[in-house]
């Protein structure tokens, strides 16, 4: 097991390295000159030249990359070009906020998605199934910004239950933030909820057809026990894979929702960085996003292995 995790970490490192290369090169080739950006339109030629020297912008590409990478690994993520503040603490505080949002999103769609999927499978082709299947299809087709735009009028203006603007103070506690988190979380969750419900439905239907579920019934086990002990454990395997594969979608969705709801998370920071061509900020945010994706996949694989003895490593 340990060697497996080590191996996986190894491959994650490789992926992160490749991603860093790509991210670094893209940001380097963005239109506009960094020094010009920093100093503004009216800087003198000389000032620009000095700054280029200071930033090492005249060095060959690989040296620039190495410098950046070494610093990055050491936690020195540079200063924001716009605010001149160190990027690292900025990203970290936003990451915390995004994590809070992610927790709420997961708590919303995983249990409800599974519940709906199982329910649909059990009531296969009857009205509950038809309703659930239709709704989850709608959810899948619904982009986050559309669902946000539908949710805001409904909950904020019409019902008046929840705030439409989630621009909380950057270091609010989870309790303080929670009311502001719900609406963006729902907006993000709906999409994945549809996927999870559909996957769970399909997985459960497959498993309910298996010989071992029939055998469990014919052992005289009560229906609930057959479902929970014999069917669900196997039925949820594909769902777990979907949740992990969905992590990318979720991160993308969160980005949109953070922007729409004005929530101070990583996504909004990234957008802010892009709007201002704040290269260190863009680089840092993208790298964190890549690392998160890899981690999510690793966790999903480990969970899958834990539930599925066929690939459990001794």
């Amino acid at each position: 097991m340990a060697t497996y995790i080590l191996r996986r970490f190894g491959s994650i490192l490789v992926i992160v390295f490749l991603a860093s290369l790509i991210i670094f090169s893209i940001t380097q080739f963005l239109p506009g000159d960094v020094a010009q950006l920093v100093l503004g339109q009216f800087a003198t030629e000389e000032a620009i030249a000095n700054l280029r020297e200071e930033y090492g912008l005249n060095n060959p590409f690989y040296i620039q990359y190495l410098d950046w990478a070494v610093n990055f690994v050491q936690g020195d993520w540079g200063n924001s070009l716009v605010s001149r503040m160190p990027v690292f603490p900025m990203v970290m505080s936003r990451l915390r906020n995004s994590a809070m949002l992610a927790v709420v999103v997961l708590m919303l769609y995983v249990p409800f998605g599974i519940l709906l999927g199982v329910l649909a499978a059990l009531k296969r082709d009857k009205w509950p199934d038809q309703i659930i299947t239709t709704i989850s299809m709608m959810f899948v087709a619904l982009p986050v910004f559309v669902s946000s735009l539908l949710l805001i009028p409904l909950f904020c203006h019409f019902l008046g239950w929840l705030p439409a603007n989630s621009s909380i103070l950057p270091d609010s506690t989870f309790g303080e933030a929670l009311p502001y988190l719900i609406l963006p979380a729902i907006a993000v969750a709906l999409n994945s909820l549809g996927y999870v419900a559909r996957m769970t439905r399909a997985g459960t239907i497959d498993v309910l057809r298996t010989d071992y579920v029939r055998a469990a019934y014919l052992k005289g086990l009560p229906r609930r026990q057959v479902l929970v002990r014999h069917a669900l454990r196997n039925a949820l395997l594909p769902t777990i894979t979907i949740i992990a594969m969905d992590a990318g979608m979720m991160i993308g969705g969160m980005l949109v929702a953070e922007v729409v709801f004005g929530y101070p998370g990583l996504g909004r920071l990234l957008l802010y960085g892009m709007q201002n061509q704040d290269l260190p900020l863009i680089q840092a945010c993208s790298m964190v996003a890549v690392a998160l994706l890899c981690l999510a996949n690793l966790i999903a694989d480990l969970l899958y292995g834990l539930l599925n003895p066929r690939i459990r490593v001794k």
């Binding site: 497996y4 010989d211 019934y217 454990r233 599925n308």
Partner: protein, 705 residues
């Protein structure tokens, strides 16, 4: 009316299971289908009742109806089912559930599918003990171990902690039986329990069931399509056909007297290990099992019965008790009783001279096929890399023109891989193949089109080679079109010829594959293979997905085609009787190697290789009077990744002589003309320790002759 006869049938004790006049229907798109009609059967404690029938006979539906676990569209229309004094049909479902797993238990066909993959074996037994025997967790765990021990499971403690994928099919079936016996049920229903297992495993499971029955005094309903298994293990037997029981009686009564034309038909189509194509021809039952929504009037077997007369079609014949406890649903049973050879005499001697050995058309020398298990992608992270599976390891054979070489062995012995190497579908790792004196490249891609034409293949699943969207006429004409040197009319002609060669009516040419039965599709596959006038056809388990009555017709067809066009076959099968029957030469394979090879008469007579001997003794012979040596193999087939040293069979060989078997590869010994055995035991010793494994059937055969 049936009731009247039934009431006379007395079983000494009251039956445990008493089914009377049961009718089961399914609602389908074509209306109500009567799948089981007016069936009655009783099983007493300690009795194994064999229910035999071909696919579509309704035997599984009957089993499901008994436990009231029918599909949603199924329904019990009339009749009664009693378990002891309990009337099962009037019970509410909640009470029925309490009976499942405690008073009635079931064992299904595919043990690998019936065991939950993510719950430990021990727990799957223990949960039954907790539920029905109200045991505590620790008692239940102890009970699980006890049950595994009773199943003669080696190392029960570790097995209890394992998962399904870590056990072999035979072990899993023991687990399923253990689960079924934990509660000491009154009725055990086994639905094709050994069908998915190898013969040696099957024999061991049947032994186990037989032994366990002396301890557990229950009634067993044993459902199977295999008459051999019935003759082996059952006390009484019911022969089911298209939803009705045609004949019922003790195993000896039914097998010896055969008072129904269908029973005679079934037994007549079975190739026997003591027969070959030269001394008898198989008698296939003409026609098909009727579709349940188009049942013939009167006797349902009428359209396929050679004894049919007008009265048969007027009214459904009632069951008659021909002798005490022996029932038949044939009006003309007296004719059958007075003439035991009636309908059987078609097993006439085939007029085949000992034909001259043709020239060697194909040779394979030292063929090896190793698979690398450096798995790719995600799986590679879990598996050790750099290991090899030696699927075929140094196999050499020769095939003569107009001859059949049979290759037998259990699953995993490499016989299919070997055939695929010859066909070029798998690239051999090393070795040499020659076709009619020409070197044959390893893969299809490198072979000339002439070479490709000369070797054809027929697969187990005929669907694999038929495009569902093309008419079967198109499928058969495709090889001609590809050849490109025939006009449309000529192609038409050839296709018609082929259809008549494989006994299919010409109007089938325009049908689509799904309109054909399994046997018909296999005929098409053969016709396609014949189209290019090949030198050799590789038949990979061509019969195993078909019913016995269809198998016989297909075997006859293969022999007829060989006779007329001097084609050679490499016939691969796990069915020793079929191989014995159709082959001139037989090679026995174990773990990627041939261990015995010779003419089929020689291989099936002593001296045998110890593995051949074990295989022969495991065959379920469809004759209760046959004496069969009982040699059973221990343990599982070793993994081909980790082959045993020395003789590959030493881990299971019942005749192992000692360390030499583990240390040294055994030598090839010549018994006679081309009959060779690969074993450390000398031939003389083999001769003294072995006697004919199957005795008895040959005598009846001689009488017939």
């Amino acid at each position: 009316m049936t009731e009247m006869y039934r009431s006379q049938k007395s079983i000494d004790t009251d039956p445990i299971l008493d089914v009377r006049n049961l009718t089961v229907t399914y609602r389908t798109g074509q209306g109500l289908v009567y799948t089981v009609r007016d069936v009655s059967l009783q099983i007493a404690a300690g009795e194994i009742y064999g229910l035999v029938g071909e696919s579509g006979s309704g035997k599984s539906t009957l089993a499901r109806a008994i436990v009231r676990y029918l599909a949603d569209n199924g329904q019990i229309n009339s009749g009664s089912i009693k378990l002891g004094n309990t009337d099962l049909l009037t019970l509410p479902m909640s009470k029925m559930q309490k009976i499942w797993g405690s008073r009635i238990t079931m064992v299904h066909q595919d043990p690998a599918a019936a065991v939950n993959p993510s719950i430990t074996i021990g727990e799957q037994i223990a949960e039954v003990a907790r539920l029905h025997l109200h045991m505590s967790s620790s008692q239940a765990r102890e009970k699980a171990l006890e049950m595994l021990r009773k199943m003669r499971m080696p190392d029960p403690e570790s097995v209890a902690k394992r998962y399904a994928h870590q056990l072999s099919g035979g072990m899993l079936q023991r687990v399923v039986i253990a689960i079924a016996l934990t509660t000491n049920p009154e009725l055990l229903i086994m639905d094709e329990p050994t069908t998915s297992l190898d013969v040696t495993t099957e024999a061991a499971i049947l032994d186990l069931v037989r032994e366990l029955l002396t301890e557990y005094n229950m009634a067993v309903l044993f459902i199977t399509h295999n008459l051999g298994v019935v003759a082996n293990i059952c006390n009484r037997v019911g022969v089911m056909y298209a939803g009705e029981i045609m004949e019922e009686g003790t195993v000896r009564q039914v097998f010896n007297h055969k008072l129904h034309p269908y029973t005679r038909g079934l037994l007549g189509c079975l190739p026997k290990v003591t027969n070959d194509k030269r001394n008898v021809s198989l008698s296939a039952i003409p026609g098909f099992i009727p579709r349940m929504n188009h049942l013939p009037s009167g006797c349902i077997f009428g359209p396929r019965c050679k004894l049919v007369e007008d009265d048969c079609q007027a009214e459904r014949p009632s069951q008659v008790e021909a002798e005490a406890g022996h029932f038949t649903a044939c009006r003309r049973w007296e004719a059958l009783q007075s003439n035991p050879d009636l309908l059987m005499d078609v097993q006439q001697v085939r007029d085949m001279d000992e034909h001259e050995e043709g020239p060697l058309v194909f040779t394979a020398s030292n063929i090896k096929k190793y698979f690398d298990v450096t798995a790719s992608g995600f799986d590679s992270l879990f598996k050790q890399s750099g290991t090899e599976i030696k699927a075929v390891d140094d196999v050499s054979v020769g095939v003569r023109g107009g001859f059949t070489l049979g290759v037998v062995g259990e699953s995993g012995c490499g016989k299919t891989t070997f055939a695929r190497c010859i066909a070029g579908l798998e690239e051999a790792t090393s070795g040499k193949m020659e076709l009619e004196g020409q070197l044959l490249p390893y893969t299809v891609a490198k072979r000339t089109s002439a070479q490709k034409k000369r070797i054809q293949m027929v697969f187990q699943n005929p669907d694999a080679s038929l495009n569902p969207h093309y008419t079967i006429g198109d499928s058969v004409s495709r090889p001609f079109v590809l050849m490109g040197d025939l006009s449309k009319e000529e192609i038409q002609m050839r296709v018609k010829e082929l259809f008549s060669a494989v006994n299919l009516p010409e109007d089938y040419i325009n049908r689509l594959p799904h309109e054909l039965s399994g046997g018909e599709k296999q005929r098409i596959a053969i016709a396609r293979a014949m189209a290019s006038e090949p030198t050799m056809i590789l038949c990979d388990e061509p019969l195993s997905s078909l019913d016995v009555s269809v198998q016989a017709a297909l075997i006859n067809l293969l022999i007829k085609l060989q006779d007329s066009s001097k084609i050679s076959y490499l016939f691969i099968s796990h069915d020793l009787a079929a191989v014995r029957y159709i082959s001139d030469w037989v090679a026995v394979m174990y773990l990627g190697r041939i261990c015995e090879i010779g003419s089929s008469e020689d291989v099936f007579l002593p001296p045998y290789h110890p593995y051949t001997e074990a295989l022969l003794s495991a065959i379920p012979v469809p004759d209760p009077d046959v004496q069969q040596e009982r040699i059973r193999l221990e343990g599982n087939v070793p993994s081909p990744i980790d082959l045993p040293s020395g003789c590959r069979f030493h881990t299971r060989c019942p005749r192992k002589i000692g360390e030499i078997c583990e240390a040294q590869e055994p030598p090839w010994q010549d018994v006679s003309d081309h009959h060779q055995i690969c074993c450390h035991i000398t031939l003389d010793e083999l001769r003294t320790m072995q006697s004919e494994v199957i005795v008895g059937q040959a005598d009846t055969l001689r009488e017939v002759r």
